[in-house]
Amino acid sequence: MRDALSKGTIYLLLSLGGILMLLPFAWMISTSLKPANQVMVMPPVWIPHPIQWSNYAEAMRVAPLGRYFINSVIVTVLSTAGELITTILAAYAFSRLQFYGRDILFSILLGTMMVPGEVLLIPNFVTLTKLGWIDRYEALIVPWLASVFAIFLLRQHFLSIPKELSYAAKVDGCSDGRFLWEIMVPLAKPAIVTIVLLKAIGSWNAFLWPLIVTNSKEMRTLPVGLTAFRTDVGTIYELLMAASTLVILPMIILFLILERYIVEGVSRAGIKG
């Protein structure tokens, strides 16, 4: 009886919390569709009347949001794909190949995970300046083409695949390369999807690095473009919210479609500690 009673309370508390979580998004979307005269009013208007879709067109007219969007897509896709390839190859070497210095190399790499990214910021900026890559796609992509965390995650997963499988494949005359791409990779799919998603989210939302290595409008990614846009339009909140929606929505949609993998990935990485 007591349990049944508290079940109602549980739903109530969870719903209240859930509303607090979603309210900012509702407020963002609602504001993004308002005519100018309904934005700065008290009490706030929740349902815009009429719904003004043209705010989105207007926001895109004021700033090259389309260009920022394309830049973000290019950077996200290329750095994710690149990282995936380097990760698969390295994880294979660390989990299946015998070679001199393997354990020490792996320990060194794990050690670098402790170093906060801020330490790398300045030397990397100097390196890219010397390479002449500042304000180019290379600067936004190349430094992020490998990740120790991803290699570690995939290596653990590869290790859990039985060794007998590779012996059997060898006996059947399967080459190392084919074995990796056609057997190991499909078997490690959950880990790979997790790596891809965490990378894509991180890359899409990255701010400090793109802010530092881009100068021209044409090279900005969405988050950097958004802060510039904020400075340009000041307090025209309906346009700001339209632009924010354009940045936020793709990741939410991706998350809702592939939620299972993201949440599992986070819990797995979490339990490992």
């Binding site: 900012p24 963002m28 015998q98 790398l120 300045i122 060794k163 802060t227 940045v247 939410i252 339990i271």
Partner: protein, 296 residues
């Protein structure tokens, strides 16, 4: 059957490792060393890349720099404001979600959404929520007779605003990890406790809390490290400034200012190494305590 290691297998492995290693050496390992050397530059010509003298002057400068003290103090306040509150709330919500309810996945999804959104974009949304005259937050508070608070322009309120945003954004991540931890606690402990007529509260303190301690500890350390590195939120919330009268200047913001705005590379590197030191100590603490104390 596994091949013995030899020169041939090492060469082969190198081929597999090369793409990752080249990137990691150039953009991860080399900068760790250079950054350390840079923090020791005391007399140098950046444009010609000549260093005349090494020393600890940059660290001594940080020791005396009021701004750096402010940044450290603010960062600590931020960490203290975010981490305990966030952990308490997320543990509470995870416990609610871990009961036998329907819609559990649905709620988990909702709480997790803020975590996947761009910090910059959502901070701009919160800027609007924090608006003094037309913001949602002051509107809700007005129901309780609270007069409008200048969240973002009053130096006294800048840090609380930042803390509210950070808690809201990070809650889902902690909840997911707590849920994973809770699900690892074997059900029969609770069954036994029920047979002994232990109250809900007793069950929490005598079973859940001790068995969850590795998770709680992990979440705490991860949150502390993450909070130490706060930057994007500040930049977006206060429009490219570290809050009114620098009330939200944090360590990473300090590094950013020294490096990007003032081109003081050596000082910025030294400050980055101080951050590294703090994170390093916390990580060691995690490894040490994680092995020793935690569990039952």
């Amino acid at each position: 059957m596994m091949q013995e290691k030899s020169l041939a297998t090492t060469l082969k492995a190198l081929l597999y490792l090369a793409p990752a290693l080249i990137i990691l050496v150039v953009f991860n390992i080399y900068p760790i060393i250079t950054s350390f050397l840079m923090s020791l530059y005391t007399d140098y010509d950046y444009y010609h890349d000549i260093v005349y003298r090494y020393g600890f002057d940059n660290f001594l400068f940080l020791l005396q720099d009021e701004d750096f003290h402010l940044a450290l103090r603010n960062t600590f306040i931020f960490v203290l404001g975010v981490v305990p509150a966030s952990i308490t709330l997320s543990l509470f919500i995870a416990l609610l979600l871990n009961t036998n309810i329907k819609l559990r996945g649905f709620f988990r999804t909702i709480y997790f959404i803020p975590f996947v959104t761009s910090v910059v974009a959502i901070s701009i949304v919160w800027r609007w929520i924090f608006h003094t005259e037309y913001g949602l937050l002051n509107y809700f508070l007005s129901w309780f007779g609270v007069s409008p608070i200048k969240w973002l322009t009053d130096p006294k309120w800048a840090m609380p605003s930042l803390i509210i945003l950070a808690i809201w954004k990070g809650l889902g991540y902690n909840i997911v990890i707590f849920l994973a931890g809770l699900q690892n606690i074997p059900e029969h402990y609770y069954l036994a406790a029920r047979i002994d007529r232990a109250s809900r509260w007793q069950r929490f303190w005598n079973i859940t809390w001790p068995l969850l301690s590795p998770t709680t500890f992990f979440v705490s350390i991860i949150s502390v490290i993450g909070s130490f590195k706060v930057f994007d939120e500040i930049y977006a919330l206060f429009d490219g400034r570290p809050g009114p009268v620098r009330s939200a200047l944090t360590v990473v913001y300090y590094i950013f200012e020294k490096f990007y705005r003032e081109q003081e590379y050596a000082v910025a590197s030294a400050a980055a190494y101080v951050l590294f030191l703090i994170v390093f100590i916390l990580t060691l603490l995690q490894l040490y305590i994680g092995k020793k104390r935690v569990h039952y």
